[in-house]
Symmetry: C2
Subunit: 327 residues, 2 copies
Amino acid sequence: MRVTIKDVAKLAGVAPSTVTRVIQNKSTISDETKKRVREAMVELDYHPNLNARSLVSQSSQVIALVLPIDSDVFYQNPFFPTVLRGITQIASDNDYAIQICTGQNEERRLDNLKQLIYGNRVDGLIFLYSNPNDPLVEFAIKDKFPFLILGKAASPFVSLVDNDNIKAAFDATDYFIQQNYRKIAFIGGNKELFVSQDRYEGYKEALQKAGIPLDEKLVHFSFGFMLEDNSYQMMESLPLAELDAIMTTDILVAEVVRQYLLEHQLTIPIISFDSIKPRLDIEAYIDINAVELGRESVRTILQIIKDHKEGKTVCYRQLIDHTITKL
Amino acid sequence: MRVTIKDVAKLAGVAPSTVTRVIQNKSTISDETKKRVREAMVELDYHPNLNARSLVSQSSQVIALVLPIDSDVFYQNPFFPTVLRGITQIASDNDYAIQICTGQNEERRLDNLKQLIYGNRVDGLIFLYSNPNDPLVEFAIKDKFPFLILGKAASPFVSLVDNDNIKAAFDATDYFIQQNYRKIAFIGGNKELFVSQDRYEGYKEALQKAGIPLDEKLVHFSFGFMLEDNSYQMMESLPLAELDAIMTTDILVAEVVRQYLLEHQLTIPIISFDSIKPRLDIEAYIDINAVELGRESVRTILQIIKDHKEGKTVCYRQLIDHTITKL
DNA sequence: CTGAAAGCGCTTACAG
DNA sequence: CTGAAAGCGCTTACAG
């Protein structure tokens, strides 16, 4: 058997409850006793049984990352692994563990989530996607369970951590405008996603501010994953010869655009969004700072969990700055 | 408070232990009682406290995915999200949850792992990388804790799930040889990785079988992440004009190669390995079937966990077939 | 076929 | 400053 708190107590000559207090570093315990107990813990290589601890403390020290259905485009994008790096950093700093929650369909995803929540296996949730009317988000709201959305939220009373995507797209478009480009195409990802909509909004605002009329023929959205058979067709519908620049909202989209241009020996500057330094040779990119998004979302969910224990309900809205980088 | 087993028992008019037996679907319970208890569970929307269950059953129903240090190239590759899809599928089918274990340095990673293992929070581990002399793997071996490696293992007594990388690279090279190509370059990823070494081995074997002498000038390995300043230099050191074809062991490498060729208006067919359909326009790719790798690794670790409970120690070596796809 | 009791390994009041 | 007792919500022998 593993070594238990009793073993430590016996070796240190104290009661188990005293060992607990030493672990919690309570100020009521004498330094001398603390020292003795800590030595015993090291000597026995003691690690508390987390299930026992969670059972009584009603807290699991686990955060669940809620992912979309496992067939989603989400998994193609470097966003997820990058944001995960930031998440694990801060989680580990705070002795929190990370659990994954997903499933093959909506029903399974909800089942899995319920099991985690009702089963007391997690203290809070981070949603790594945001769709309108997501049943899991709605469940968390109804259950008053601590959660936040990494991205935009449909409801205004939901905590979130996100970029200012309108501003970011404004900056991206403006970057080209400053170079006296006027014919700037916009090629977005899935139009259903908040993020595509916001970036389109920023594009329009930048044009408007510069007095450039919006030309619908320069605007395209792709549905789901970009490298479909029709993506080249879409490129051909653009007035490529007159184009000054192209803005894409997604690195997967940018890859296809870039490839098309190379194959047709066209040189049109591209700007895109990415969560890592793009591996393709484009003009510039908006770094959404995915690692920091991950970090901040853990800091925030930790705060929400704390608030929840104290009976408070605060709605947090944290914006992470983007940076524009010329390549 | 959440509804507990006592609430269910009371509503169904039975003892708590009977509720447990119904959940476990023991054959000793009468159908009539089962029915009553199940109705009560549904009515109360009962979900057992997993911490209490784990405490007594000594089993957490959680598998940890052990990841490399969070600065690793690993996170750039679509391998991880793809394999994760397979993992969550089978885990969810078997009522297992997935936890992430990583850290900013080796020490933290080992600490986190120990906490999970000694804390009874996980039943088994899947290592998503394989390096010689990894301290975490060595800890799992010493502790006799159930684990497997997704990839090649240094020790011959360690369970693993992997592709036959030698065979896969052989097939890739042979694909070109069958087209009467003879000058085939090999551009590998990090030479320290087993996977690069094995793929190089397969390349050599295919050449040898075809009677083509190995030309060292056609062979290159990159260190770490490919898109470094020296990657174009490396391309220029190749006798590009004479080359019939290029094989790369990694899609990140292939991207750079492809980009170089496009920019220099060279058309040399490329074959690469990938875990998803490549988003770039190359001749063919070896699909390593990452989703199936994920699925099989969960099936296998579940078996290892079961063996462990029964005191057995079996070493499993599961190979997942690759497929070659012309694009 | 089912119940009562004991116990998993912690932590949290309660005492002193 | 520290200990003894109770209890978190389950499951597992033990009885009958």
